[in-house]
């Protein structure tokens, strides 16, 4: 997509609820505080909002309308976006295009999911899928990536576990993270096995959550409570179908999505101060360091152990604790990442603040289906 044809767009307000197990709270009520906070921060009133974009994968029909009913936003166009784990980011992108193209001035974006109502366990996948019918589950898919990555590069299970340790270290500083207790490599490896070599603490927990942002033209932030954060770039890719060999240690959809976006906006990924990436499992974060261009193939553990991606490092990854500490309420995660990055670029993140952060990136993928790396990948770049 050519950004040159769009006017400058900025995030004007953000809202997020603490992620966790909120069994007694309905989907629209999960989203309500996030939507109201995003609106308050934007300094706008309800009648300024011209459209709502809702991301949710497993909330049933018309999640956006159900949220609107509880937040006084009914009557305007509402678009419900399902793109697996990329649902919330896809909703944001659709709003970005609508505002950027001048169709509308102000939009509400909300991502929401309530996984506890599914009864726990692995995410339900499409039962018509030949791989799912043979026992494929999301932890199994990532586990096979991990197995091959360790085999190809001589890394160990301890390298994987260190990702979870870093995640918890960051999550301990994040008020809205689900898991906030620090941990150790030994504890991570001793947690119960899920899909070898991945143990429980290397998998994102089940959780419920919601996040929202208000976006508008970059010059339309006059009454916002915090400095507007510019959307520097937006890109969405779908998976390429293959029926044969695929190198599972190279996440091609992320590599392609990131490469196309970097070229479009002339960005060197090593200049990005802070990133939220799709760390649904420990192996994922390592593979994404490489696919997002932070280091060459096979060298992600070196980056991790060297502190480059930890708070205080050059390219801080998942300062919020990511999905491993927050949980991964599927449709909410993409929007939650945007809230974290925007607040980082506004300098509002207290103990987990990345000092001097000017450039930030959010990355989500999504979908386990035969013949694809993933079904969707959505990346955004933000600039203070």
């Amino acid at each position: 997509m050519s950004h040159a044809k769009l006017r400058d767009v900025a995030v004007l307000g953000t809202g997020i609820i603490p992620f966790g197990k909120h069994r007694a709270v309905s989907v629209p009520h999960l989203a309500r505080p996030a939507v109201i906070d995003a609106l308050k921060e934007s300094g706008l009133v309800r009648s300024d909002i011209e459209a709502m974009y809702c991301g949710s994968a497993l909330s049933g029909m018309m999640a956006g309308q159900r949220v609107a009913r509880e937040t006084g936003l009914t009557g305007i166009p509402i678009v419900n976006n399902e793109n697996a784990c990329s649902s919330g980011a896809t909703a944001f992108r659709e709003a970005f295009i609508a505002v950027g193209s001048g169709q509308i001035d102000y939009a509400m974006v909300v991502g929401v999911e309530k996984l506890t109502r599914l009864g726990g366990g692995t995410l339900p996948l499409d039962e018509e899928d030949i791989e799912v019918a043979n026992g494929q589950v999301m932890p199994g898919l990532y586990a096979m990536r991990a197995q091959r990555y360790l085999h190809d590069h001589g890394h160990s299970a301890r390298d994987l576990a260190m990702v979870a340790v870093k995640s918890r270290r960051h999550g301990a500083l994040t008020p809205y993270a689900q898991f906030r207790a620090p941990t150790t490599v030994e504890e991570v490896l001793a947690s119960r096995p899920i899909a070898d070599p991945l143990t429980l603490m290397q998998c994102c927990p089940t959780g419920d959550g919601a996040a929202a942002v208000v976006i508008g033209p970059a010059d339309g932030a006059r009454s916002a409570l915090h400095p507007a954060v510019k959307v520097r770039g937006s890109h969405l890719a779908s998976g390429r179908y293959l029926s044969g060999f695929r190198d599972m240690t190279i996440p091609e959809i992320t590599l392609r999505c990131a490469g196309e976006l970097y070229e479009e906006i002339a960005l060197d990924p090593r200049d990005i101060d802070v990133l939220e990436c799709h760390d649904a499992f420990t192996i994922a974060e390592l593979l994404y360091y490489e696919a997002l261009g932070l280091c060459p193939q096979g060298e992600a553990p070196r980056l991790l152990h060297g502190g480059v991606t930890s708070l205080g490092g050059r390219n801080v990854v998942n300062p919020s604790g990511g999905m491993l500490s927050k949980g991964h309420p599927v449709g909410a995660s993409g929007t939650a990442q945007i809230v974290e990055i925007v607040r980082q670029l506004q300098g509002r993140c207290d103990a987990r603040q990345v000092r001097g952060a000017r450039l930030g990136l959010t990355h989500v993928t999504g979908g386990g289906t035969a013949g694809f790396d993933h079904g969707a990948c959505c990346i955004h770049v933000f600039e203070a």
């Binding site: 018509e128 043979n134 899920i194």
Partner: protein, 135 residues
């Protein structure tokens, strides 16, 4: 192919109908297809090539030796599925990659080891799995 609505034992995978398997000289094979125009292979078999949309495809038996690309032992699965079970991706000489249950969850599987695809009758249908094979 029927979705796994019934309990699946650790060595059971997708249950196939008779139209989804082929009888070969040395036993049963899975029915894959190859496009007569672009040459690409597809499993499960298709009547339209998903790569070039050509409508002329030939049946291709999928059976025999392959190389285990990666594997895992799954301990957490949907309700009804007995755990642990082992899963692996196998690459065949014709270029196709297949996900299947591995014959047992206790073997120490290794990346790149040779495996062999077995297709067997199961009740009113068929199922398939991968076994270790000599190099």
């Amino acid at each position: 192919m029927n979705p796994p609505s019934e309990p699946l034992a650790p060595n059971e995978g997708a249950r196939l109908a008779a139209t989804e398997v082929m009888t070969q000289e040395h036993g049963l094979a899975l029915r894959a297809s190859q496009c007569m125009a672009c040459g690409k292979c597809t499993f499960p078999a298709s009547t339209i090539c998903p790569f070039c949309l050509h409508e002329s495809l030939r049946d291709l038996p999928l059976v025999g030796k392959a190389s285990l690309y990666s594997f895992t032992r799954v301990h957490a699965a949907p309700v009804n599925w007995q755990t642990p079970y082992a899963l692996g991706y196998a690459d065949f000489p014709n270029g196709l990659r297949l996900l299947a249950k591995l014959a047992d969850a206790t073997t120490d599987w290794r990346a790149d080891q040779p495996v062999v695809l077995k297709v067997v009758a199961a009740g009113e249908g068929f199922r398939y799995f991968l076994e270790g094979a000599a190099a």
